[in-house]
Amino acid sequence: MGIEGIGARVARKEDKRFLTGLGRYVDDMVVPGMKHAVFVRSPHAHAAIKSIDTKKAKAMPGIIGVLTGAELKTDGIGNLICGWMIHSKDGTPMKMGAYSGLATDRVRYVGEAVAVVVAETRGQARDAAEAVEIDYEEMPAVTDAVKALEKGAPQLHPEAENNLIYDWEIGDASAVDQALDGAAHVTRMKLVNNRLVPNAMEPRAALGHYDKAEDHFTLWTTSQNPHVARLVMSAFYNVAPENKLRVIAPDVGGGFGSKIYVYPEEIVCLWASKKTGVPVKWVADRTESFLTDAHGRDHHTEVSLGFDADNRMVALKVDTIANFGGYMSLFSSCVPTYLYATLLSGQYAIPAIHCNVRAVYTNTAPVDAYRGAGRPEATYLLERTVETAARELGVSPADLRRKNFIREFPYQTPVIMNYDAGDYEASLDAAMREADYAGFPARRDEAKKRGKLRGIGMSCYIEACGIAPSQAVGSLGAGVGLWESAEVRVNAAGTIEVLTGSHSHGQGHETTFAQVVASRFGVPLEQVSIVHGDTDKVQMGMGTYGSRSGAVGASAIVKALDKVEAKAKKIAAHLLEADESDIVIENGEAKVAGTDRTLPWFQVALAAYTAHNLPEGMEPGLKEGAFYDPTNFTFPAGCYIAEVEVDPETGHTDVVQFVASDDFGNIINPLIVEGQVHGGLAQGIGQALLEGCHYDPTSGQLVTASYMDYTMPRAGDLPSFQVSTTNTPCPGNPLGVKGCGEAGAIGSPPAIINAITDAIGNNDLSMPATPQKVWAAMRRNQ
């Protein structure tokens, strides 16, 4: 692996600029003549817009323009769409309601954009935004997806009768019912997966610049996938054709899914720039982020898991209602379907699985993929149910899991997925060892002496990342391909630039991708630069989400490296007068195997560009591109064990130990992989203990609209984590890597809740398990 190559614990190349305050985020960008936008937002969860009067606002100091949705429509800007078509089980397509960048006749959630003010300063824009007079006629609102399906519920979109977007199913319902009927034991649960707000620390921002001279737009935006943003804005929203629109996602301060989507503000800033003749910058404040970033999760589920007399799983039946908010966000439809129901087999051999999902409109912010996206919901329901079953059956939770593990690969689940590789027992064993599972009773007794209730809980998760292949997802309704692109440019003096369609917003690509390149040619890391996030520099790419950058993005780089290496070998063979098959490139030089004849790497590169002495017929240059389309998902899996101590007087939970044993396949940089796990765990533990997005059910106001009420995990809420890996290489991609970005958030919530319910002896506990809820659950025991 070398000290800088694949597998090395290399400190990140990109750190220096962040450590010294020289990172460049969208809000740091300044364009000459730039002005500031503030959006006028709906204060109501559901209302008809009777009139909008901008006259007073327009007359205020510093105002350049006040624009409304009517003008947006007149200018032909299209509605926002959901790009993944799901069909209901009756064959009808999903019912998508109209979603305008600026609402014209009706608002459907608090915070929905209605108008935009552009002014010299942000303060002036905000002053004027308050002066825009909008006459609303309030309508009854519904925020809960279960209630939204009930008779007489307020109706959001004429397209979606009873607020139902789709009623979708997967699996064999009759086989499942039959198996459950014949089961020796059935564990039934009702579970809620709490709504979360992603809360990347950098609020969303957009800077739109229309260049009249070139009739060309540039958008700097907080995006995880600038090319997708450009494609969608060109093809569907009619903002500008792709060749007239450049999208730049510079340093981006975290995404977690929330920056995948194209939002109204990005479209409006571009359009407003042309309309007002000035570059227009908008930066969300935190409350705007709470109100308008796509939220995550929000499922209500009923589950039945049947066992035979030998405690083997015979069938799983799942019925889920998924809250989609007021509009369908860009990829919302695939989250509770193909990213959720397809993972319901977990690590277990379950012969029959059926899942029904109803997607529902409510008067809340749109819901879409958030770190894990569907997989945390699947894992939570399965691992809570398995743990509960173990308690009901009076067997050890580890043994029940072990008995039902899938042990032979590839394994075809009843819900599409074909698991390629794994060793679930290895991660379970490793986690139990690391957690000193056997020593738990002694620790519980010791805690009791201190007046604390100690509990232990585990979770064995599987997830699927690097969603692919394009042809397969296309057949399932995806509107885009799910490949990745790369271009490797070897410069004349041997330094290397890699252009990637992946986007780093904290993942460390500038280091890990460079390690892949350094490994290949043995060149120093500092001679490799990673270029990303700019549609003018990188031809096309799909961006970063779903833990795909290693498995898909780096694989594309490998493919391009293969081509570069092949050509470099030809050149070297020619110059060294050797056979091409005898050339090896390593340690920064090309050499003839078994001889001392070598050529420094830079001379190979130089020869490619001087072109003075190339093989007959060879084109000059050393630059190759590749597109990589995976043949399957990758399937990271692992076992997490949490230990908690509950204060019986207050209900406060301390996570006193957290062990994560993951299988990520081959690892490019363990330092970065561990960091990804830590971050995921914090978000998962946050979901389990702290974070709950709460709308007032009557008014539809978002009660948790700032950090005063939405509990973000802080350092003091978390322990240091014990993380390790037991790896089975992924057979499906050239690096053998899986994905590590979401595992922590996927696997940890059920481990925590299993531990708390173990501690307090009451299984009736929902997330987030706040002190009040835990205290109330303990009281119900009495």
Partner: protein
């Protein structure tokens, strides 16, 4: 934030004059509550009169059994004051748990009590310590000072100059923080003084800080946590919000009172 005009006062009298000359002025000390409130446009004073540079408002004095804390003493200064740590460590402990280190470098005791946030920590301490609030006009007992949510006995142009109290025999503070904001979800300050035990509760009451008579009564007979066994607090008059029901807060009052007593008894 709406437009405002900033003034920096170098003396109390200058501050009063600046405020009286303003349309709708407001004093600002550390600004750790007022500035965020203005940013959210929930407050829009025409003028801000900065008290942070008035020398007379600074300093912490402990002499004999008397403690006097200048209104502009920051939470960090209260937390770290060595003489105060000997005289009334519970107050230092309380100050250590206000906000976060950065907020404590700016926020002041005067600013905190003038705001009288129902979940702020200091009001419980002042009420339990039977402290006196000194202003440029008069002295006000803590019993009279805290009137209602965000409401005090202060007149518009009145400036808190200091708070003083007699060192208690024993004192302790038990705080259960709001998991999100870290204000007190419920905080109880208990103090045993020559004239009896006082226990004040913050974060829980619908009308702000209040004295818990049941706790005071139980602790008067025996200043020991066990004296609170079996003491239940009625949920009437307690706040309910997404973080805590009135019943849960009632429970927390009893539990935090016990922990405060345990801390007081070392």
């Amino acid at each position: 934030m709406h437009q405002t005009t900033y003034h920096r006062a170098s003396s109390v009298s200058e501050a009063v004059k600046l405020l009286n000359d303003a349309d709708d002025g407001k004093y600002v000390a550390g600004g750790q509550t007022l500035i965020p409130t203005m940013k959210q446009r929930l407050a829009a004073p025409s003028d801000l009169v900065d008290l942070r540079h008035i020398a007379d408002l600074k300093g912490i004095e402990v002499s004999g059994d008397k403690v006097k804390i200048g209104a502009a003493a920051t939470h960090a200064e209260v937390a770290e004051n060595a003489a105060l740590a000997k005289a009334c460590p519970a107050l230092c402990h309380l100050a250590t748990h206000i906000g976060d280190p950065h907020v404590r470098h700016m926020g002041t005791i005067g600013g905190s009590i003038a705001n009288n946030d129902p979940a702020a920590d200091y009001p419980a301490a002042l009420l339990a310590l039977a402290a006196t609030v000194h202003t440029n006009k008069r002295e006000i007992s803590a019993d009279d000072f805290f009137v209602d949510l965000f409401e005090t006995a202060l007149e518009d142009d009145e400036i808190i100059t200091a708070v003083s109290f007699t060192v208690p025999e024993k004192a302790g503070y038990g705080k259960f923080p709001n998991p999100a904001s870290r204000y007190a979800l419920t905080g109880v300050f208990v103090a045993r003084r020559a004239d009896g035990v006082r226990a004040a509760v913050t974060g829980a009451g619908e009308n702000g800080v209040f004295r818990a008579e049941a706790i005071e009564k139980a602790l008067s007979s025996s200043f020991d946590a066990s004296a609170l066994d079996g003491v239940t607090i009625p949920a009437d008059g307690l706040m309910t919000d997404i973080h805590a029901s009135a019943e849960y807060r009632a429970n927390l009052i009893a539990v935090m009172a016990k922990r405060a007593v345990q801390a007081a008894n070392g």
